[in-house]
Symmetry: C3
Subunit: 244 residues, 3 copies
């Protein structure tokens, strides 16, 4: 049993999904248990997915799908049987607010000890699984509208674009990219290889450890410095401010 | 060795006791080591308790007793011998400020590897153990004075009352309960099954995963929204505000 | 595999070095992997050090040296080979911003499974390793200038002085030591054995669990109460305020 993290902010499905999607593919085949579950106790489904050689267990709220795709795509899915619901020791029935303890962990343990996925519940059409909304990504003539998809504990802001999209707006290593921020202000980001290639407290755009563009501040927090949060839309143009 | 949590706020004996009391009964028989110890280095006793098939090791400041009761009651107790005090490697003597390292962890390791409780120290009368003060719980005619006994990392506020006490003030699922808060303000709490049965950011009262009443805010923090902290007294009446 | 902590603040090399230096000597011989790495992706070296019977793996930015000294001194050092750089699964090349995943953890795993240090990279002169700047410590006639070297999660402030330096300014258990703080204010600290020997919320100076002087506030945070941060210089005199 490995604890990957207990630091996902309460209820932040997007952050949980992002951490799971970058972590699971780097681990050996496993049963991955993930619980960020603001809809606990409602009719949202509890599911287990097969993806690659791994299984993913958690709520059907979008949390698991990006990891399943990063593991090679969904090979199968079940709606976990309510018969798996175990009341906590000393209680007559399972709680309405802690499926992590009463359903997901017992189901993950069953699967990890060899129970077949098909025996854990009824099959589910993968197409019916809840997916997180599509992120904003629009490319125009030398301009890109992109969304902050994840903010990590350093304050680095991952974007909903691919490395190739930086090419498409004409940015290459060393270019200055101007970012129009949600508060209407503008920031100059140099496209650099790593944090310390920027001056202290200077903002940069770089390819993060997943290979995708992200915004950082060297020795600081881009989220705090540029007032960015997950879900914000940023407009990028490959030109210094003076050229506008 | 399982790490349950390192997130109890510094010195918060009540929170440590609450986490331990809900966690220990759900785990297999074990030696539970718990250290929230603002009195470290003073004459407060260091103890080990037998409860159910488990042992509990820590300071005699109230931290262990609720868990021991949840495990079935205290079967025996010892005052840990000062001969168990191990100086850290490279030091001549144990510190006055880190019994977690110098006394409790070595004692727990000894007990976990088979040393009998009786050999870890002198017997202690369980009745002499420090207990946390009783919580406020007073029932009147359709009214209940109750205390916030625990605030978790989601901001959910557990109360010093039983599910049956909600019945006693006339509340059933769907009832509106008015809460008089410590700052004099009033809040309407609907008695619901789970968080998401309330509207986003709406407060509710519900039975938490231990089966006891608690106050929450759906997708938010009741502690922040209602300015509640552990130890606060809340007055509950089963009536909407308009009925007052 | 033991996780010591994931709570070092982002980029705080000093705090990482302090935690590692007090922890590593208390553990059995091991490969200690430590990554606080604001210079990731630049030409700062990645190193592994032999110290005592342990190995230390991480960036050459001062993080590892205090622990190596606490383990008995550096017996050998290598600059980790770039051939150890492993791209993450699914990527063509290692990232420029996550050597923890792509270089340090794989190198630590290699060393932990028996690869000789000499095969992990080119030898490095220990004298060439980056060291954290010396801390302020100046002793005058009954006065000591000392620096806050570490602030822990309780807000206790460790100082760059030895227990003997308190003797040198004339302080013994029970003495009142006046501290001139960076903001120009003065605080009276009683030299006590442990936190709870002071009144609630009262400041004290004591020998911490490493045996060195530190400033605390009983049941509170010295860092917050006295506005102290790592790197601050404090001037200590063995005299109550009234004697000035």
């Amino acid at each position: 049993v490995l604890d990957i993290t207990h630091q996902v902010p309460p209820g932040d499905i997007r952050r949980g999904a992002a951490v799971l999607a970058v972590t699971a593919p780097q681990l050996p085949p496993a049963v991955h248990l993930a619980v960020v579950d603001p809809g606990v106790g409602t009719r949202r489904r509890a599911v287990a997915l097969a993806a690659g050689e791994s299984l993913l267990v958690g709520p059907d709220n979008g949390l698991l799908v990006p990891a399943a795709e990063a593991l090679g795509g969904i090979r199968g899915a079940v709606h976990l049987s309510t018969q798996l619901h175990s009341p906590p020791i000393g209680a007559a029935s399972a709680s309405a607010t802690f499926d992590g303890r009463d359903l997901f962990a017992p189901a993950a343990a069953l699967l990890a000890t060899g129970t077949a996925l098909a025996r854990a519940g009824q099959p589910v059409d993968p197409g019916s699984l809840v997916r997180l909304p599509e992120r904003v990504l629009r490319l125009g003539d030398g301009v890109c509208w992109t969304e902050v998809v994840d903010v990590d504990r350093f304050g680095n802001c991952a974007l909903s674009m691919a490395a190739a999209d930086l090419d498409r707006i004409g940015a290459s290593r060393g270019s200055v990219v101007t970012a129009e921020l949600p508060d209407g202000s503008l920031a100059e980001l140099t496209f650099l290889r790593t944090f310390a290639d920027a001056g202290q407290q200077e903002p940069l755009i770089y390819l993060d450890s997943t290979g995708r563009p992200a915004i950082a501040v060297n020795c600081g927090s881009a989220a705090r410095r540029l007032h960015l949060a997950e879900g914000d839309v940023v407009v990028l143009r490959c030109a210094p401010l003076a050229a506008r």
